[in-house]
């Protein structure tokens, strides 16, 4: 018997009045799997994450199914969701400065989570906190646990957040741009830690980011989102090496790499023309058609669904001429 997936999202839509930020998204995160949701601002990736956590802003509603632990999270009460958050699903947010409580010691904040969900004594919770902090490679954990958030560095704060998210051995961790606010030189450390700690606990990871290299390093599956829909879905190796959607390909081509930098500074990046359409005025048919080099009448008229190779495109990219390798 196979283990049930950590989360299964079926036809999820998220909206506010007549605006739809997420329009019929489906994906599955297998137990212990690592999947990346990549997209630009306005693609609906963060709203998808918030809907999964039951943390949508006031006035926003979610429709569809989010199956987790035998329950459809979309139809659960706030109270039921609240007992799950931090226990079976947890989240690491982008900016650790604004997600930690500035007036409580960081060790106490981790211990709170353990104390509440694991039902252990305060003393035991503190002991587990220190053990977790050791695992997070935090220096002098006993002393650090007594610090306030403003006294420690950004990288340390984000490691505290990860410790908190991992504290109860959740089935799924959602990480929304966990390294975007950090200095480049600590980004790798934090990613390495997140990857090791999740695989050690067999927690599944849903990584949300606009950063393709991060997805390539962290995930085994990727879903590329554009204007609220998944436009390409599949194994990272396949999607990034042989992208079939023109948007995925455009994103890959616009990455500066060592190979497309000319010595004399004459190199030019391929860029995707135009901009992400506002949700109130989405183009008809495939939302990417005004920016797409291969768009035809059909693309303007009909919205493509994901095909069996995982691309939602009427005229998928055939071969990749400019291989990244």
């Amino acid at each position: 018997m196979s283990t049930p997936p950590a989360i299964e999202v079926r036809n999820l839509s998220v909206g506010y009045e007549d605006i739809n930020a997420v329009r019929g998204v489906s994906f599955t995160v297998p137990a212990g799997g690592r999947i990346g949701l990549v997209g630009e601002s306005g693609s609906g990736k963060s709203m998808t994450a918030l809907a999964l956590m039951g943390l949508l802003p006031a006035g926003w509603t979610a429709q569809g199914e989010v199956m987790h632990d035998g329950l459809n999270l979309v139809s659960q009460s706030d109270r039921a969701l609240s007992s799950r958050r931090g226990r079976t699903i947890s989240m690491v947010f982008q900016d650790p400065m604004s997600s930690l409580n500035p007036v409580r010691r960081v060790g106490d904040q981790i211990a709170d989570v353990i104390h509440r969900h694991n039902g252990v004594s305060r003393r035991e919770a503190v002991r587990q906190t220190i053990a977790l902090m050791v695992q997070m490679n935090l220096p002098r954990p006993e002393q650090l646990a007594r610090s306030y958030p403003h006294q420690i560095s950004g990288g340390q704060k984000q490691r505290i957040m990860i410790a908190m998210a991992l504290a109860c051995y959740p089935q799924l961790i959602i990480a929304d741009e966990p390294t975007t606010a950090l200095d480049v030189t600590v980004q790798k450390q934090v990613l390495r830690l997140l990857k090791a700690a999740t695989s050690e606990r067999n927690s599944a990871l849903l990584m949300i980011t606009h950063d393709l290299p991060v997805i390539a390093a962290m995930c085994d599956t990727v879903a590329v989102m554009y204007a609220g829909r998944i436009v390409e879905y599949g194994p990272v190796q396949q999607v990034f090496r042989n992208p079939r959607h023109h948007y995925t390909r455009g994103l890959l081509d616009s990455q500066p790499t060592m190979d497309n930098i000319a010595l004399d500074g004459t190199s030019r990046l391929v860029s995707i023309p135009g901009m992400v359409p506002p949700l109130q005025r989405l183009p008809s048919g495939c939302a990417f058609n005004p920016r797409c080099p291969a768009a035809t009448e059909k693309c303007r008229a009909e919205m493509p669904e994901l095909d069996r190779d995982g691309a939602a495109c009427w005229h998928p990219v055939q071969t990749r001429e400019t291989a990244i390798a």
């Binding site: 606009h210 290299p213 390539a216 390093a217 616009s254 500066p256 930098i261 500074g265 995707i272 901009m275």
Partner: protein, 271 residues
């Protein structure tokens, strides 16, 4: 074409901020932010400045734009020391060195129409002339339509706003553009557009560009010479590809190691 004569040069620039006294009668301590920095840019040349946060990038930017006076060292514009120059030369320097900031959403006033925002530098620098013609010229240079002039910042996307911010910097017809992390707040598919625009401006207008960022690969793409700053000192200067393939200073090596690429991620060598 790159002339040998640097347009804007910093020579042995040092800056220190004083710290509060630790005891009532003790002398106040001081903290050295920049230590004997040499840095220059020529017309038609794009130079990069990279370093971690806290390395001194921002302070150096403030000094090269004349917002801060260094404790020692000289800032030369067109061969003239700006801190001992006369009023006319100072005015010329202020007009000629313009800045583009990281986040256009916070650097543009939300209550100002684009036309007002673009005319702001002309007003504050007291520049006379046919500004309407100049507005159209500048919009054309950054690839925006004239209809943008009557609109407000919230009506634009991040990439368009950064173009407007660049247009505003171009209004007084500067000779040096200082861009502090100009693409890090933008979406990936838009970053390439803005980087290409900056490269075009350097070539077409014979501008000197100082490009400041923490991401080596973005800097390497845009510039032909890069200075690495760490702990208030320039630790290495070189061509971008050289720095990438044969970093000499340990701080450069750290920055090179920090660069994540899709290829290194896919091959499993990234982390």
């Amino acid at each position: 074409m790159i002339s040998r004569q640097p347009l804007l040069a910093m020579q042995q620039v040092s800056q220190a901020y004083s710290l509060p006294r630790t005891a009532l009668f003790s002398p106040p301590g001081s903290f050295t932010v920049l230590d004997s920095i040499d840095f220059d840019v020529c017309a038609g040349e794009a130079v990069g400045l990279v370093g971690e946060s806290g390395a001194g990038k921002t302070t150096l930017t403030r000094i090269m734009t004349g917002m801060e006076r260094p404790q020692s060292g000289r800032v030369l514009f067109d061969g003239i020391d700006i801190w001992s120059a006369g009023q006319a030369e100072r005015a010329d320097f202020r007009r000629s060195v313009q800045m583009v900031l990281q986040n256009p959403r916070s650097s543009l006033d939300p209550r100002m129409r684009v036309s007002t925002a673009l005319l702001e530098p002309m007003r504050s620098l007291r520049i006379e002339g046919d500004h309407v013609k100049r507005l159209h010229e500048v919009l054309d240079q950054v690839g925006l339509d004239k209809s943008a002039l009557d609109r407000f910042p919230h009506e634009f996307s991040g990439g368009q706003l950064q173009r407007i911010a660049i247009a505003r910097a171009l209004m007084p017809n500067p000779r040096v553009l200082v861009a502090d992390e100009p693409v890090s707040a933008l979406d990936v598919s838009i970053q390439a557009q803005v980087l290409n625009l900056l490269k075009d401006l350097v070539r077409n207008l014979n501008l000197g560009l100082v490009f400041i960022a923490h991401d080596l690969s973005v800097v390497a793409y845009t510039t032909s010479r890069v200075s690495v700053i760490a702990g208030g000192r320039i630790v290495e200067v070189g061509q971008p590809v050289e720095l990438f393939t044969r970093p000499k200073a340990p701080q450069t090596k750290n920055l090179v190691d920090a660069v994540l690429t899709v290829e290194s991620g896919l091959s499993g060598t990234a982390l």
